[in-house]
């Protein structure tokens, strides 16, 4: 399970931490396991019980907002804005869902969101995997400059490049298409993907593809047949983050899409202005949009862990 922590950590922290290192942690699972019991882990039974109570309270507080969103989505439209509000629906109904999904453009926006996110994920991976490999394996000056430049791109406020990007897309005839939006989303996810992949490649021992080259593989062949399979877990993590970055993105979608390629976040935001304050439908649509990614990520987590463990064993 230690490996799991590494995974989530690396996945969450784009910039690499000097002392941190997927590689070492993953390659020495046995040593690490013993450490905590004697270290920061609480020992006494009373203390532990108290901590569990604390954790339960925190989890309830933290989970409540989303549960309230779900409950609200099952209320009747009138109950949604009742004063005073109730937590649970007085009457459970799917009315909000049928209202929200039946509205023109909502289903199309789902398809747009899926399309845009998939194109952007593939594009990010195709560009980031070789680049990250080039950076970590050969450690050239150009690689160091490149990763610094990628770091700087992360600081660029999207609002600053959104308009020039939209103008560019219009001038090459791509305005209001999923392709244009997924390119814009890739400007966000590519730097992130390069860092993530770099830290995963860092964990792969050099000997692995050196052995492959000795056996007659070309360098590209070694990358494709030997290194990529070892980091497949890392690629999965990176793909999830690239997918989420696009799926949840709002500003570029707002600036670059009109009717044809509008994604769901823009539609959710538009509910507020176009149809007055239809809270019921909005909560329903928000739930429909969020639950698949929450479930997907939680489900895939095991796979990612398995992939990482496999990579770790090789080390």
């Amino acid at each position: 399970m230690r490996v799991a922590e590494r995974t989530t950590h690396d996945a969450g922290a784009p910039a690499r931490v000097p002392t941190e290192p997927a590689a070492h942690a993953a390659t020495r699972p046995s040593r690490r396991r013993g450490r905590n019991r004697e270290g920061l882990e609480a020992g006494r039974r009373g203390t532990r019980a108290l901590l569990w109570v604390l954790l339960a309270t925190a989890m309830v507080l933290y989970g409540f907002p989303f549960l309230y969103l779900l409950f609200t989505s099952f209320k009747t439209p009138i109950d949604t804005i009742a004063v005073p509000p109730t937590i649970l629906p007085r009457e459970w109904t799917l009315e909000n869902y049928t209202n929200a999904l039946g509205r023109g453009g909502v289903l199309a926006s789902f398809i747009n969101s899926v399309q845009t996110a998939i194109i952007s994920t593939v594009l990010s991976l195709v560009l980031a995997v070789p680049a990250a490999y080039g950076i970590t394996r050969y450690k050239t000056l150009s690689g160091r400059i490149f990763i610094m430049a990628a770091l700087v791109t992360r600081m660029v406020p999207p609002v600053a490049i959104g308009i020039p990007l939209a103008t560019m897309m219009a001038s090459i005839g791509l305005s209001d298409t999923p392709i244009a939006l997924s390119i814009a989303h890739t400007t966000i996810s590519l730097p992130l993907s390069i860092w993530l992949m770099s830290s995963f490649f860092e964990a792969v021992p050099n000997d692995l593809e050196e052995a492959a080259t000795v056996d007659g593989c070309s360098r590209l062949g070694a990358l494709w047949r030997v290194v990529i399979p070892v980091v497949s877990g890392g690629i999965a993590v990176t793909a999830i983050f690239a997918f989420l970055a696009s799926w949840n993105e709002f500003l570029f979608a707002l600036l670059m899409t009109a009717i044809r390629s509008q994604t769901t976040p823009v539609v959710i935001a538009n509910f507020q202005t176009q149809f007055g304050l239809d809270w019921g439908s909005m909560t329903a649509l928000a739930a429909v949009y969020s639950i698949p990614v929450i479930l997907l990520t939680l489900l895939l987590q095991r796979k990612i862990v398995a992939g990482m463990t496999l990579g770790a064993v090789k080390g």
Partner: protein, 323 residues
């Protein structure tokens, strides 16, 4: 992050030999390794050049022009005029301070809560694993949804938070606090969804950092009679410093760029009390149709972010001094 380098030409020569010391006869292979690395990086570099660097260049270039919002309209070179106009407007200066306040509030609270949760998870050890996963869930939620959700919780009249506080006897009237309508507190209210969304990130990073602290070190300190506060401030936090630096910088940059959550909750209002820099630039560009002024604001905003980030990285992180 990289040490200061000598002249580039010299550097390039050294670099051929440096990476992994190998027997001398492989020098020729080394050179083509460099080419191969370059070949691998080129597509991504080209992509970033075309779709990030070029728009940025356009942004900076536009900031020196007075531009008509109509496509194909006139463009007049006005020098630094847009910059003077930006600093002369109360909106720009105000948005700058609000962005700073917003970022500080978000990052400080996230750090405190995230560290608390990370310590809690560490103290509970392996048995808390499932809850760590559950705790991650807000990271998957779209900021626009989070903003909407919290707006719904805090909204006047039928917001649940006011009602619950009223029922608990804290407030005499459910609408006593106008979370999103009182200009004095709205900037803090709009920060709540952001904090809710990404405390998990802070927690995950700090948790991973905590796992790297050798248990024997903690044991030794305990045997020397160190109590919890001393352990935290003398040992844990100093050892976590590089991790903390990265977490704070990454989250600080994101918080300073916050847009979705604020737009959906208040659209910058009431009376611009929650208008941060991203919103102001957006409004200047789209609503007021002044791309030149918006570009000047965007350029200043970007420069400020770069400066703060580099200062933060070099002071908190201090590469080399810790290792």
């Amino acid at each position: 992050m990289t040490p200061p380098r000598p002249a580039p030409a010299q550097e390039a020569q050294q670099d051929r030999r440096r990476p992994r010391p190998r027997p001398a006869e492989e020098k020729t292979v080394r050179i083509s390794d460099r080419r191969f690395a370059l070949f691998l990086m080129t597509p991504a570099a080209l992509f970033l050049a075309v779709f990030v660097a070029f728009p940025l260049f356009r942004l900076v270039a536009d900031s020196f022009f007075k531009i008509s919002p109509i496509a194909g309209g006139p463009r007049d070179f006005v020098g630094l005029d847009n910059y003077f106009r930006a600093f002369a407007t109360e909106a720009f200066v105000g948005a700058g301070w609000r962005t700073l306040a917003y970022t500080l509030v978000v990052v400080t609270l996230e750090f405190a809560l995230g560290l608390g949760m990370a310590l809690l998870f560490t103290a509970l050890g392996r048995s808390s694993q499932i809850w760590r996963t559950v705790f991650m869930y807000p990271l998957m939620i779209a900021p626009i949804v989070a903003g909407l959700l919290w707006k719904f919780l805090m909204i006047d009249n039928f917001g649940l938070i006011g009602t619950l506080l009223h029922q608990a006897g804290v407030l005499s009237n459910p609408n006593q606090i106008g979370w999103l309508s009182d200009p004095n507190i709205v900037l803090f209210s709009v920060a709540i969804p952001d904090i809710w969304l990404t405390t998990s990130f802070m927690c995950l990073v700090l948790f991973a950092g905590l796992q790297n602290i050798p248990g024997d070190l903690i044991e030794a300190a305990r045997l020397d009679g160190a109590r919890a506060p001393a352990l935290l401030f003398r040992i844990i936090l100093p050892l976590l410093r590089p991790v903390i630096a990265v977490a704070l910088v990454v989250r600080g940059i994101d918080a300073a760029r916050a847009f979705d959550t604020i737009l959906i909750q208040t659209n910058g209002g009431p009376q611009s009390a929650s208008e941060t820099m991203s919103l102001l630039i957006y409004r200047t560009m789209i609503r007021f149709g002044d791309p030149g002024l918006a570009s000047a604001m965007g350029t200043l905003y970007l420069l400020a972010m770069l400066t703060v980030a580099f200062v933060a990285v070099s002071t908190i992180w201090r590469p080399g001094k810790d290792n």
